[in-house]
């Protein structure tokens, strides 16, 4: 059977992609942040997987407001890179796992999660910056990817409860797949940041650290945190953190915290990163 072997959460700041693409990761500004991912780059090499399910949000790069799916799943063989206004990032095309993606989408719909099915999708920095952070600059990404876009841009966003429950359903669906695959799930976005209005630049590191603690140890309580609290305490764009609950739900009741990293700032954002593994009973 297929199995969820790890969860990875990380911010997905677009400027981080620029830093990678323009070879500036060792600049004074960027080095401390990239250094924080060195452990993780080695860890994913030492603990390989076949497929990465990447929970992320599109930033008006593929989805406009003509169609705005709350939860969607890519079931294609490959995903091209979006032009976000300055040409596509110069990175490899993202290869999909159509067979597992199809199985997951079908299983989730049957379990009452009304996924939008994507046979075509271009992916933006929300998905590709985490790939760059974990895998660097390879000629080809080392895993197949199943994109899982979530609407966190337009309010109402899905509730925290729904996100955690979706993660749990993903875990069941992966385990019901008739194939021997190691699967990781990534929750991306956050942490605290606000990129609009007079309050722009908001950062709340103590809140971010508490969110990480609760995500690891007490997701059953964390799921009820209202969106309003995310907005007030972690900024209007901090609500992206609900995507980390999907990752957490897929890891089971107890987890091992393999690694944690925080860094302020990257561009306008508080960067946070976790590696978690399911704790076997």
């Amino acid at each position: 059977m297929a199995k969820i072997v790890a969860g990875i959460s990380t911010s997905h700041v677009p400027a981080v992609g620029h830093a990678v693409d323009s070879g500036r990761t060792q600049d004074e500004y960027w080095k401390p942040m990239f250094d924080g991912y060195e452990f993780s780059k080695q860890w994913v090499k030492d603990n390989p997987a076949d497929v990465d399910i990447i929970v992320y949000n599109d930033h008006a790069s593929y989805f406009g407001m003509d169609i705005m799916p709350t939860f969607a799943m890519g079931i294609a063989e490959k995903y091209n890179i979006c032009d976000e206004g300055y040409g596509p990032r110069p990175i490899p095309v993202v290869e999909g796992h159509a067979e597992l993606g199809t199985h997951l989408a079908a299983s989730l719909i049957l379990d009452d999660f009304d996924m939008t099915v994507l046979n075509k999708l271009d992916v933006d920095h929300g998905l590709t910056v985490p790939l760059s952070l974990m895998y660097g600059t390879p000629d080809k990404w080392p895993t197949k990817v199943i994109p899982l876009p979530v609407n966190v841009v337009m309010n109402p966003q899905p509730s925290g409860e729904r996100c955690l429950a979706l993660g749990k359903a993903i875990r069941d669906a992966v385990e019901n797949f008739d194939g021997d695959l190691k699967v990781r799930i990534w929750g991306t976005g956050g942490m605290s940041h606000q990129i609009q209005g007079a309050r722009a630049g908001l950062i709340n590191l103590p809140w971010d650290i508490q969110f990480m603690d609760d995500l690891v140890n007490d997701p059953e309580t964390l799921q009820y945190k209202p969106h309003l609290e995310f907005m007030i305490e972690a900024g209007s764009e901090g609500v992206e953190l609900i995507m980390w609950l999907i990752m957490r739900g897929a890891l089971g009741d107890k987890v091992n915290e393999v690694y944690r990293f925080n860094h302020v700032p990257a561009s306008n954002t508080s960067v946070g990163h976790l590696i978690l593994t399911p704790k076997e009973d």
Binding site: P14, E84, G85, M154, N155, I195, R199, P265
Partner: protein, 132 residues
């Protein structure tokens, strides 16, 4: 569950992009989406008025784009991820564009970020700030 969009209006200096606001800004945001191709970016930059007239936007929305007044665009239903297509096409970073919506200069904003960002203290409620 009945939506409660009012609850977001007490957050100072913040516009929550609701489904209601998204209706108001639909054409503005559609225009932004069109800038995802080099061909359209070139056409827009060659004659901004003519390009904007191809969209069913209000005159206020068009003027805000011509003025590069990002706060005004957000007030009129724009969302920053859409608006990023305008500033990215001009080589402007999020930090540069975002700082224009604050009362700080770019240099002051960058210094604030390097020093740990804007504390939420004093920025949680308009009522607390005497703004409402």
């Amino acid at each position: 569950m009945k939506p409660n969009f009012e609850q977001y209006k007490d957050i100072p200096g913040t516009t929550i992009y609701t489904i209601e606001l998204a209706r108001k800004g639909f054409q503005l945001n559609e225009f932004c989406m069109s800038l995802r191709t080099q061909e359209n970016r070139e056409r827009f930059h060659a004659d901004e008025h003519a390009y904007l007239d191809e969209w069913d936007m209000t005159e206020e929305q068009k003027q805000a784009v011509l003025d590069r007044d990002f706060q005004r665009m957000i007030d009129l239903g724009g969302n920053v991820y859409f608006l990023s297509k305008i500033f990215a096409a001009e080589g402007m970073s999020y930090v540069q564009a975002v700082s224009t919506m604050t009362d700080q200069t770019l240099e002051e904003y960058q210094a604030m970020m390097l020093a740990g960002g804007r504390s939420p203290d004093g920025w949680r409620s308009k009522k607390e700030r005497g703004e409402a």
